[in-house]
């Protein structure tokens, strides 16, 4: 071992290569490789009867995607859900994160962080099914609204609520981390210089807050965009992009078409990330 150790000590480049090869291999083979396979298979088709993949180049899948109105509608619906979930998370997370970072004493702060993190320990499925029971006909939420059938029931609205609940911690934590780095003295200085709360918020807090919010939104937006389990459990008959991908793999056994559909969220996220990169939010992750 020591021979190898001293040899590597004398050859720093070899040492670096040895250290980096495993993660690089993972990145290239497992991650980029999978994306490449996805992209290539999107141009194949499936034999409608036996379900065998026909490995011949064809634009058929993309033609269907563009010409059928239903795929546009589902894409817009998914975008709407992702945007709504992100919006709700920002509205709830910002005051909470501000309270945690700036108002609560350091003892309570730790407890609050734990309280935010504990829901993440419970299984996603358990939480979604819990919401299915909550939203059921005559369930607790119906009772809150005054009787069976008065609550929102299963559907698009329920999907947005449940996804907001599921992804809220992913929004709180980046905002909290951002605000924690803002020194209290800056808030005091702003007050000393005569700025009121609104001015302090705009001039001091907001510049720190925006990149953090964008960082959080990358999580909530992409997680909502790709979700299909919550929609299946509480979404009623709602379809999102994830459901179409799942239906084409799990039910229709049409992997190439599923791959073609899956390029939509990939494209949306690439556009989103490029736009976000300009804001400097990626440094907040």
């Amino acid at each position: 071992m020591s021979v190898l150790g001293s040899y590597l000590h004398r050859h720093p480049r070899l040492r670096l290569a040895g250290l980096l090869s495993a993660p690089l291999l993972w990145l290239v083979v497992a991650y980029l490789g999978a994306l490449a396979v996805l992209l290539v298979s999107a141009f194949w088709t499936v034999n409608g009867f036996t379900g065998e993949v026909v490995r011949e180049f064809s634009l058929q899948n993309f033609r269907t995607l563009l010409s059928e109105e239903v795929y546009r509608a589902v894409t817009l619906r998914s975008l709407g859900v992702a945007a709504a979930v992100t919006g709700i998370c920002v509205v709830i997370a910002t005051p909470m994160a501000f309270f945690m970072a700036k108002v609560a004493s350091s003892k309570y702060r730790n407890w609050l962080v734990i309280a935010i993190l504990t829901p993440l320990w419970a299984s996603y499925l358990v939480k979604a099914y819990a919401w299915r029971i909550l939203l059921a006909n005559g369930g607790p939420i119906d009772t809150l609204f005054g009787g069976p059938g008065n609550g929102p029931g299963y559907g698009l609205f329920a999907t947005i609520i449940v996804l907001s609940y599921l992804w809220l911690p992913y929004m709180i934590l980046p905002i909290y981390a951002g605000l924690e780095r803002l020194p209290d003295s800056m808030l005091e200085a702003s007050a000393d210089l005569g700025a009121r709360a609104g001015r302090t918020f705009r001039a001091v807090v907001l510049p720190i807050l925006i990149p953090s919010v964008i960082a959080g939104s990358i999580f909530t937006f992409s997680l909502s965009l790709g979700d299909y389990i919550t929609v299946q459990i509480v979404g009623g008959k709602t379809q999102m992009i994830g459901n179409l991908v799942y239906a084409n793999i799990g039910a229709a056994n049409n992997l190439p078409f599923a791959a073609a559909i899956a390029t939509i969220p990939v494209l949306i996220m690439v556009i989103y990330l490029v736009a976000v990169r300009r804001s400097g939010a990626l440094e907040e992750l």
Partner: protein, 399 residues
Amino acid sequence: MRNRWMTAVLAAGVLTLAACGGGGDSGGSASGPGGLEVPKIDKLAALGAGEGEVNIVSWAGYVEDGSTDKAVDWVTGFEKETGCQVNNKIAGTSDEMVALMKTGEYDVVSASGDASLRLIYGGDVAPVNTDLIANYKDVFDGLKNKQWNSVDGAAYGVPHGRGANLLMYRTDSVTPAPTSWNAVFDANSPYKGKITAYDSPIYIADAALYLMKTKPELNIKNPYALDDTQFQAAVDLLKAQNELIGEYWSDYTKEVQAFKAGNSVLGTTWQVITNLTKADGAPVEAILPTEGATGWSDTWMVSASTKHPNCAYLWMNHIISPQANAGVAEWFGEAPSNKLSCALTADKSHCATFHADDEAYFDQIWYWTTPLAQCVDGRTDVTCKDYAAWTQAWTTIKG
């Protein structure tokens, strides 16, 4: 530099895929639809000792080991007797079954008619040597060597049983009790938002069956053979029905819960789901509507790449044995395939109720069949919509 990296990665991916794409050739006779060939796969020649386990893909309620209901158990005895540990995977739709069998990780499957031929022509299942299955001789002749479980006289499985898709409703909220499929298609239904339907493209056949009886001018002869006009009419009917639907189901536990809570009060079901919902204390009934219904005739098939052929054969022999077959038939609510089962059911009138040997009755049931471009009703002057078209239409229907 970065661009070159990407190019290299992509090139490597493409090369790998191209290398993988070579296989898949198959010989055999060209007897299938559209000149499709059945891949040549040998059937098992002789039975040996069990391999210790068998992996099964089945419909809910077909493989019960007492965990759902202590009294319902035809698996534990089989495991003790043969030493084959049973690992069961429940599938919600035929498409799911085909997809699971394609993984090659399962040994046997209870395939319906809309899966069986796809599995046979896809080379996913092997012909079955029925001489090695002692109970095969007692299977109703009306189920042997049918178009969905054999090719050119070669059996590809053992018949399991058959039945109809029913209409379930909550007796406390749906009055008067429905008698027709009209109840789930009526645009002015008072149960709007509380109607459910089966979440699979094959459900289009239910709409076609309804149109067959109510719109004779469309001239539908077989709900699985739909030309452009007939198909469009069925799709339009389902798009209109979408307004009434609360949720679609393919997971049976979800349907049980929805009917129990009252989120769904009316919709398609299987007898076993009705039984489970009743057992949960919900007031539900299921009927066979006047128009008849779609249904299934299931076949146990063995994977072409099975690692446990002996346990697979032992299982197929066991599941159609009079005792087990009677158990499944009563639990799932279907007609058994073994003649001797009828004497062993707890309810002695079970075979009569489910018309076990009544071929005239089953002429009214349209077994799930894979729709093909060559119309399965024998028409040659038009092209029918194939299953791929059904699948894409199903997405459009759900919106």
